[in-house]
């Protein structure tokens, strides 16, 4: 039987704000229209988070390198290498046929963000690796500087392309926010890298990281607001259930982390470490939250049917208006 309204028995988070009455819609026995990705949250949200940490970390490392903050530079280069290696491992682990991972580089397809991303990673990974190796061994400093620069140039793309990867799907919570998601991912990546720098760098070198953490917090708030505004009714998936809990956690952790770092991070090493860890955890929660929102929006047909109906009605109204205008002229 077709179903009108109502959400198929899925629990809502406790103590949530009052809901607007659910839009009338019909579906085939409440079954989802699209298929949610079979991706494991740990692997793919982890891949997003680690990619962000690595990419933004490379930019931070290059800045530290340039300004003579050598401890930060070295630590962040190592962190980026570790993060990008783990990120790639998470991606490979999630493949249905991990042994066929090299097929990712079989072709270069501009229409596939995963293909573009794989090529990007294959350029960024070695650069990040060389930068870290040179920094740790102290050998070939010129090559190290070049690798650091290359990683810093590619890093921002590594941090944001994953937003395109998620948005280029039929998943309503992701595709609906395809304009905003890259900024949210950039903010989240900045928070993670700043957090890592606070954890690993001495207090006297942490000024830029504290500043970046504050900027990331503001950007994260702004991007989340913009995402929810754009999504209309689909924004529920970012507020309710598991995604809602994760994203509230993320905001709390990032805000608290940045505040701790800003207030005490310059003097107290433990405060800097605590703030940094909170920022890292907050960034991870953002990715897990966005992932969970996507799954929730794919699993309930209301988020596919109602926005599509509305888009169609808008288009038809616009066409009718045009036709009327043409007839009137």
């Amino acid at each position: 039987m077709t179903r009108t309204g109502g959400k198929g028995g899925k629990g809502r988070g406790k103590g949530e704000e009052l809901m607007v009455p659910r839009a009338e819609f019909r579906s085939y026995y409440g079954r989802p229209v699209i298929k949610a990705p079979a991706w494991a949250a740990r692997d793919i949200a982890g891949y997003f988070f680690l990619g962000g940490l690595a990419g933004a970390g490379s930019v931070l490392a290059a800045g530290a390198h340039l300004t003579g903050r050598t401890t930060t530079a070295r630590a962040m280069k190592v962190s980026s290498l570790a993060a990008i290696s783990l990120s790639t491992a998470a991606l490979i682990n999630d493949l249905g046929r991990p042994g066929r991972f090299p097929y990712m580089l079989r072709v270069l397809k501009p229409t596939s963000p995963m293909s573009v991303g794989s090529w990007l990673l294959s350029a960024y990974g070695p650069a990040a690796g060389a930068a870290a190796l040179c920094a740790v061994t102290g050998r070939v400093p010129r090559a190290g500087a070049a690798a650091t620069a290359a990683a810093a140039l590619l890093g921002p793309a590594v941090a944001t392309y994953t937003a395109v990867l998620a948005a280029d799907t039929a998943v309503p919570a992701w595709h609906g926010a395809h304009r905003e998601l890259p900024y949210l991912f950039a903010a989240s990546a900045t928070a993670a890298a700043a957090g890592m720098a606070l954890v690993v760098a001495p207090a006297r070198e942490s000024g830029p990281a504290r500043c970046a953490a504050a900027l990331a917090t503001l950007a994260d708030l702004g991007a989340t607001k913009a995402t929810e505004r754009r999504l209309g009714m689909v924004a529920e998936t970012y507020r309710e259930g598991k995604a809602g809990r994760l994203l509230r956690c993320a905001r709390g952790l990032i805000g608290a982390g940045a505040a701790t770092a800003a207030l005490a991070g310059g003097k107290s090493r433990p405060a800097a470490v605590a703030g940094g860890l909170a920022l890292l955890a907050g960034s991870a929660c953002t990715r897990l939250g966005v992932f969970a929102a996507g799954i929730a929006s794919a699993e309930d047909p209301v988020y596919t049917v109602v926005p599509q109906r509305e888009a169609k009605a808008r288009r038809e109204a616009a066409e009718a208006g045009e036709a009327k205008g043409a007839a009137g002229a």
Partner: protein
């Protein structure tokens, strides 16, 4: 990119994919008004393509225990029981001249089908579903991969495993798929799926092997009512338009085509349908879009976001330096 279209009308998908002298694009026209829900298509598809068993369960969804398309279900017959609404199902209309008398239900049979006396009797004695006596109508529809003109699954596949055949259809090459699973959420119809026992993605091939041998796909061959019609897409679209006109003339105002419009969000479906209710009632999206359409905008925003990220770090290094200089210390 060589000016290839990401969305919008595309007259020659096979040519666009690089096939020279491609045969005419083929597809399915599924006329759900004559479907009797026998599931011969499901069985023929499983048999011909040697698709593994995918669970025996009773769903309680009318006669539908297949649930939906997936890695191991490439044809799926949907069953919908509805209270009949008077305007949507008028009493058996008089059939247009030249075709046999009214068939079962309120829907005239298409041209060229032989009506056995038996069915005429039954139609006369039993209250037709949705007719004056019935308060329930039963919709049945055999769903399949749409072989989209702009196929999101194909666009996003990073390995090139999904490809456009010379017939304009969309097929997975199983020896290349690495099971990344990207095609699964990309499909706006929820068709393609990874088989968990195998890891790779599977879907309808429109019987690529049979097409190559000049045969029609197994489901169309098996369908006893010609609900599933196979042929060159242009011909099917003409035939479908005529059929809708015929139904409208007979008073079946609910009849509508779905996926036939080359100007729609996916550039038109290679497999399209004649439905008697809104698409979402059959589990189909009301306004599907190929998300690759927005890819240029997404990359622009990702680029701007990447620049902002770099800018934020530049500012983070510049600001403490400036304040320090301002304070004149360290």
């Amino acid at each position: 990119m060589t000016g290839r279209l990401l969305s919008g009308p595309e007259p020659d998908p096979a040519g666009d994919a690089g096939h020279l002298d491609a045969p005419p694009r083929v597809g399915f026209f599924t006329d759900t008004t004559v479907c009797i829900g026998c599931k011969a298509c499901e069985v023929a598809c499983k048999e011909w393509n040697a698709i593994p068993e995918d669970g025996l369960s009773l769903t309680g969804m009318s006669y539908d225990n297949t649930e939906g398309l997936g890695a191991s279900t490439w044809r799926h017959v949907a069953f919908i029981e509805q209270p009949s609404t008077a305007p949507s199902a008028p009493p058996a209309p008089s059939a247009p001249s030249g075709s046999p008398g009214p068939g079962p239900g309120s829907v005239p049979v298409p041209d060229g089908r032989t009506e056995l006396p038996l069915t005429d009797q039954r139609a006369a004695t039993a209250p037709a579903a949705g007719g004056e006596g019935g308060d329930l109508r039963w919709l049945m529809s055999s769903d399949v991969c749409k072989h989209c003109t702009h196929a999101a699954c194909l666009d996003v596949c990073p390995t090139g495993s999904l490809f456009r055949t010379e017939f304009g259809t969309v097929v997975v090459q199983e020896d290349i798929c690495n099971g990344c699973g990207y095609c699964v959420p990309a499909c706006p119809y929820g068709v393609i799926e990874q088989r968990s026992s195998d890891g790779r993605a599977f879907k309808c091939t429109l019987c690529y092997d049979r097409l190559g041998a000049g045969q029609e796909p197994a489901c169309a061959k098996a369908c006893p009512t010609e609900s599933i019609q196979f042929g060159p897409l242009d011909e099917l679209r003409e035939r479908a338009a005529l059929r809708v006109d015929q139904l409208h003339a007979a008073g079946v105002e609910d009849a509508r085509l779905y996926g036939d419009d080359p100007a729609d969000g996916v550039g038109g479906d290679g497999a399209f349908f004649l439905l008697l209710d809104e698409p979402e009632v059959y589990g189909l999206p009301p306004d599907p879009q190929v998300t690759t359409r927005d890819l240029p905008a997404m990359w622009r925003h990702a680029g701007a976001a990447a620049l902002s990220l770099a800018g934020a770090f530049a500012a983070s290094y510049a600001l403490p330096a400036l304040t320090r200089r301002g304070r004149g210390r360290r």
